[in-house]
């Protein structure tokens, strides 16, 4: 049965729907919010179901759940920091509150904790000795080592990436997803976001104090909490995106040929690096695409309305709907769907590398230029490649160490 045919009682038997009602699973929340937008005629049924759910579960909703969970997470954070770094060290630091308040359970709750854990391989046994000298020495040594590594890390990141924007940001939080994984969490202003594979997000320490600024490398889907007084700014290597409260997807991987920002709801103002005094305003269902190679003018997308006076390598285009189910191609990754639309094999390979955590080599130049269109939900790499083989002839071989070699079909 399709969700479109669900009545309130059917929705309430669905686990993901209940998780959406309580707001305890960001993926379920994303899914159902988008679903409701796409099916306004079912709004009343959903509302009925939500009210019934609240009546039956003891009147708990997302706002109570979020408040309780945040209280829980900040206690846990404090407890774990005290455990790993020792009380003395903790007290010498300035107090701080958690910036990342919610994460998917499969990840470490706090970067700093994972770090601490690595520094004290024997912490489980040393803890029992109480305040013994050895334990103290370990704690101080560990804390000092951690501080030095952290400082070096921040130094490399700032120097290496030439972060622009205010230089006055003293320290920042890092959140990253490895290849082959995605992460969802909520920032302390209520903004929900999901990071695609191989992405890094840097959040200013002062986030949500006077301004909301983050730096993104890779791809993220944002549901930005509305706060007119404090605009939310996403910085990437090639553009700055200023939003007030909206749903959007920003994609800026260093290896990709293009950077793009797709807007689903609300409005955003984009400034392109190198042309900071011009703001380009995007409307819902539009995206801006910037080519990262100055020489090649993007011919990838059918331009709908070129911006007057804009650089040659910037395009505004409509969002792409997948033919099969009219879902949005730009954000299909948030539903665990890989999608290509007349995309070069070379660019598909870059996506596959991140998605499946493999490295792909082409034996032939010609194969790189093959174009494919398709969507894949929860498929394995061989399943995807087998499907692609149906439309164009090529051969592939998956070797050890996650190496994939693709070459022309010879016969």
């Amino acid at each position: 049965m399709d969700y479109k045919d669900y009545e309130a009682e059917d929705l309430l038997l669905d686990r993901s729907f209940c998780n959406y009602c309580l707001g305890r699973d960001p993926e379920a929340v994303f899914f159902w919010e988008e679903w409701i937008l796409a099916h306004p005629e079912r709004y009343e049924v959903v509302r009925q179901a939500r009210e019934l759910y609240s009546l039956l579960n003891g009147s708990h909703g997302p706002s109570q759940y979020m408040r309780d969970e945040q209280a829980f997470l900040s206690s846990v954070k404090e407890h774990l920091e005290r455990e790993y770094f020792g009380k003395e060290w903790l007290e010498s630091r300035s107090p701080e509150s958690g910036y990342l308040q919610k994460q998917t359970p499969e990840k470490e709750p706090m970067e700093s904790i994972g770090f601490g854990q690595a520094s004290f391989p024997g912490s489980d046994t040393t803890r029992r000795d109480g305040r013994s000298l050895i334990r103290k020495i370990w704690l101080y040594a560990g804390a000092a080592a951690a501080a030095v590594i952290l400082a070096i890390g921040i130094h490399i990141l700032r120097g290496g990436r030439q972060v622009d924007g205010p230089a006055a940001i003293p320290r920042e939080y890092l959140q990253s997803s490895g290849t082959g994984e995605r992460k969802s969490f909520t920032l302390n202003d209520g903004t929900k976001l999901m990071l695609n594979a191989g992405s890094t997000l840097k959040i200013a320490r002062e986030f949500n104090v006077s301004r909301r600024e983050i730096w993104l490398e890779g791809e993220g889907f944002f549901d930005v909490a509305h706060d007119a007084g404090r605009p939310f700014v996403i910085h990437t290597s090639s553009m700055d995106v200023k939003v007030l409260g909206t749903v959007l997807n920003v994609r800026d991987y260093p290896k990709d040929k293009i950077t793009e920002t797709s807007l689903l709801k609300g409005s955003v103002a984009v400034t392109i690096k190198g042309n900071e005094n011009k703001e380009i305003v995007l409307h819902p269902n539009e995206k801006i695409v910037v080519s990262n190679e100055r020489s090649t003018v993007t011919s990838l997308l059918p331009s709908r309305a070129p911006v007057a006076g804009a650089e040659k390598n910037i395009k505004i285009a409509g969002l792409t709907y997948n033919a099969a189910d009219s879902s949005l191609a730009e954000v299909s990754w948030t539903q665990n769907v890989l999608s290509f639309n007349e995309t070069n094999f070379e660019e598909i390979a870059i996506q596959l590398e991140r998605w499946y955590s493999v490295s792909i080599h082409f034996g032939d130049e010609a194969v790189k230029q093959f174009k494919f269109t398709g969507t894949f939900q929860k498929k394995t790499l061989p399943q995807v490649l087998d499907a692609l083989q149906l439309s164009r002839h090529f051969e592939y071989e998956i070797k050890e160490d996650s190496l994939v070699v693709i070459r022309a079909h010879n016969d």
Binding site: E7, A8, E9, D10, L12, L13, R15, S16, C18, N19, L22, R24, D25, E27, A28, F31, I36, L37, A38, P40, E41, Y43, E44, R47, Q48, E51, L52, Y53, L55, L56, N57, G58, S59, H60, Q64, Y65, D68, E69, A71, F72, L73, S75, V76, H79, L80, E83, Q103, T104, P105, E106, K107, E108, P109, I113, D124, K265, H283, P284, N285
Partner: protein, 206 residues
Amino acid sequence: MLVDPSHNEIWAQLREGNSDALLALYNKYYTGLINYGLRLSGDRVLTNDCITQVLLRLWDKRSELPVVTNPRSYLLSCLRNELFGELRAIHSRVAGGKGFMRATDQEEPSYEEYIIRLQTNKTLKERLMMAMGELSSREKELLQLKFFEDLSYDEIAARCQITKRTAYNIIHAALKILKRNLAGKYSVDPLSYHLMIALVLFVFLQ
């Protein structure tokens, strides 16, 4: 959707010292624990603090934790102890503390009474009372297990010694009856309903 490792798997992760298991336990048992504590104490903040304390205490003792076949009931009894301890402490500080009286009051409201009492809207309160009155005690019991205690269908089936399919069907039927009897509450006047649809459409088509 949400990764849902089995109960015992999360427990095993906790014993191995994986701090992610704390959030996983909190997330999984939140509804059941908070409702249990709220019904005992009537204090949400206190209940949430106690849940947090219980989980942190388990974390501190993780290397000595027993293998538990049913983490839910283990956590519930931990919460009960924690809550009583706290309430007793509050009671001794503030003579005649209301919370302790409520907790020691053996007459816990039934599920039905409790959720009706929570409603502030008088019409809704009456409708809910009538709607719940239409349900059999079996149906009410299963609604409580499913939505108030937040059990999975597997747990409900095991607890009530029925098949998952039967549990599912009983809950489905009960929800249908409730929905029908509460319907008056939901009949929005047609104008505002159409306005709402138009608004949503407008936002979406923008």
